[in-house]
Amino acid sequence: MRLVNARPSRGAAVALAALPFLAVGLAYAIASAARLAANPADKLLPSPSQMAASLYGLAAVPDKRTGDLILWSDTAASLGRLAAGVGTATAVALVLGIAIGFVPRVRAALAPLVAVISVIPPLAVLPILLIALGLGEAAKITLIAIGIAPVMTRDVAQRVAEIPAELVVKAQTLGANTWTMVVRLVLPQVMPRLLVAVRLALGPAWLFLITAEALASESGLGYRIFLVRRYLAMDVILPYVAWITLLAVASDFLIARLSKRAFAWAHPREAS
């Protein structure tokens, strides 16, 4: 049989998928053991048990100074900021995207502006953001929102513009005015696409969140990583990175599930 036609069975596929992860884990374990053999107090490549102990300390032992369970208070702070930023961006993308995509006069007025804003690197305007909004929560949430909203808006507007003209004409012959069409025709059509846009924006949103928390902060996952970097505590940094990865994968999965549940018609092939 030719190589391109050899399909792995379901079990084999799972095993093949696990293989690279195991290889990375093994490589780490070997390197870590080698460094720890040379210097048992080495901080660069902590052993899995050291990382587990640190993670336990962060998740289950109240902090000496604040009495908080650090992992959970950091997670709550970061997820709160992420939700506020992504939520704002989603609301802006939905309202602005529909207006730009559906109303020609709004499109003429705003589409070029949104297109230009979407190519400005948000980190380049960071000093302006800081001066305008200070170092507090507002600046962090705004950085996330500014970072992802323009692209999401363009995505939604594009999807709205792709709604077949026949549907719009049909709605009008049935007596719909602009507002009715927005609510009854456009909104249901773009909702699944909006959720896709949110999923795609989550990666950049995490990046902006971590960046914002590195600037000035007193809690958060990014804050903790930059704080313990000062004393090279890789036993904290590596579990935090794994935790962020897990949160990101879980939120992506949940939005995908939500989309399938709420808009089954938009996932005809996947629904089985």
Binding site: A31, G57, L135, L207, R229, L232
Partner: protein, 355 residues
């Protein structure tokens, strides 16, 4: 910063593969030293550029490469990871990062202590006690944080009376300009820049805890033990520059001018920073300070601060985990795990003219 972090992880992983075995203790010829921008460390840049380092290295038949690293914490991490044989850092960071990370480290040269370089600054307030209830922007877990803890202690307050906000030193001056920031703890030259604002008042500074924030040149203890010539060359070059820059001669002024330029200021600005730095220009003074009875007391303050903030490692259960040794052979903490040594031997050699 994220990229730097990723780079560090990658580099260290590769380094661990390449150099899996324990560092072989053998005499070597090539040494690497790093330093970062700070008034008390500018001589390292000068003695490298001016050829003074090469002169002393040649005398002992070795090579010493001196590298400036822009990010202070990164320079310490690089030293701790084994990328350098020596590095400039404060007493507190030497204890928390390399010593806490199991890298046996010797304070080869005690260069100076901060005597006003680090300050607590309030906006529109003139009394330290007004800090109560405020959000204080500072580089958390740094000497700034330590200074704040000592100042609060002096005023009969505790850290829970304020909210500490971790802020990068790179953003500190810009942050001061925003309405959110009403209190900060930082160091010169940032302090000088912030104090240009008429609303800013320095309400506490390191001159009130003299000798506690110490600037060192530390080297790997094992490397030093196997290669005493490395220590001799560094000490020789350092004290030659000290003599030069404190001499009231045109050459001395020229040297200081070059250091001022390298730190982004002019001679007047540099002299202003030097004025609040207790520089040990004479090796005998540095050695006497290292032998002083106050040093173990200071290091006890420092290690308690570090332990209370969980900086000696999240798994550390005792303040005694990392041991320190002093000039008279006494130790603090775990005597079986001494990782930070204050050793005046090379300063003594310089003082006795034996280099």
């Amino acid at each position: 910063m994220i990229r730097k972090l990723a780079g560090a992880v990658l580099a260290s992983t590769i380094a661990a593969f390449v150099a899996a075995g324990p560092a072989e203790a053998a005499p070597k010829k090539d040494f690497k030293v790093c330093w970062s921008i700070y008034v008390g460390w500018m001589p390292w840049g000068y003695l490298s550029d001016s050829g003074i380092m090469k002169k002393w290295a040649d005398k002992y038949g070795i090579n010493v490469e001196i590298t400036r690293i822009n990010d202070y914490v990164e320079s310490i991490n690089q030293y701790t990871a084994g990328g350098f044989d020596g590095c400039s850092m404060t007493n507190m960071d030497a204890l928390s990062i390399p010593a806490g990370g199991g890298v046996d480290t010797t304070a080869l040269i005690v260069g100076d202590f901060s005597n006003g370089n680090d300050a607590v600054i309030l906006k529109d307030k003139k009394d330290f006690k007004d800090i109560a209830g405020q959000r204080v922007n500072l580089v958390e877990l740094s000497v700034s944080h330590y200074l704040l803890a000592r100042a609060l202690d002096d005023a009969g307050m505790a850290e829970k009376d304020v909210t500490v906000v971790n802020t990068s030193d790179a953003d500190m001056v810009a942050a001061w300009g925003t309405a959110d920031v009403t209190a900060t703890v930082t160091w010169k030259p940032l302090v000088s820049e912030i104090l240009k604002d008429p609303a800013a008042t320095a309400v506490f500074d390191s001159s009130k805890i003299p000798g506690e924030i110490i600037d060192l040149m530390v080297v790997n203890t094992e490397t030093l033990k196997d290669n005493p010539d490395f220590g001799k060359a560094l000490a020789g070059a350092w004290y030659e520059v000290m003599t030069l820059m404190t001499s009231d001669t045109p050459e001395g002024r020229a040297a200081k001018e070059e250091m001022a330029k390298a730190s982004g200021t002019d001679l007047a600005g540099f002299d202003e920073q030097l004025a609040t730095t207790m520089l040990f220009a004479k090796p005998a003074d540095a050695a006497a300070f290292t032998r002083g009875a106050d040093l173990p007391k200071t290091m006890d303050h420092v290690r308690n601060f570090l332990f209370d903030h969980g900086i000696l490692g999240t798994n550390t259960t005792s303040v005694d985990a990392v041991g320190m040794a002093f000039a008279d052979g006494s130790t603090l903490g775990d005597a079986a795990n001494v990782k930070l040594r204050f050793d005046p031997a090379y300063m003594d050699l310089a003082a006795g003219g034996k280099l």
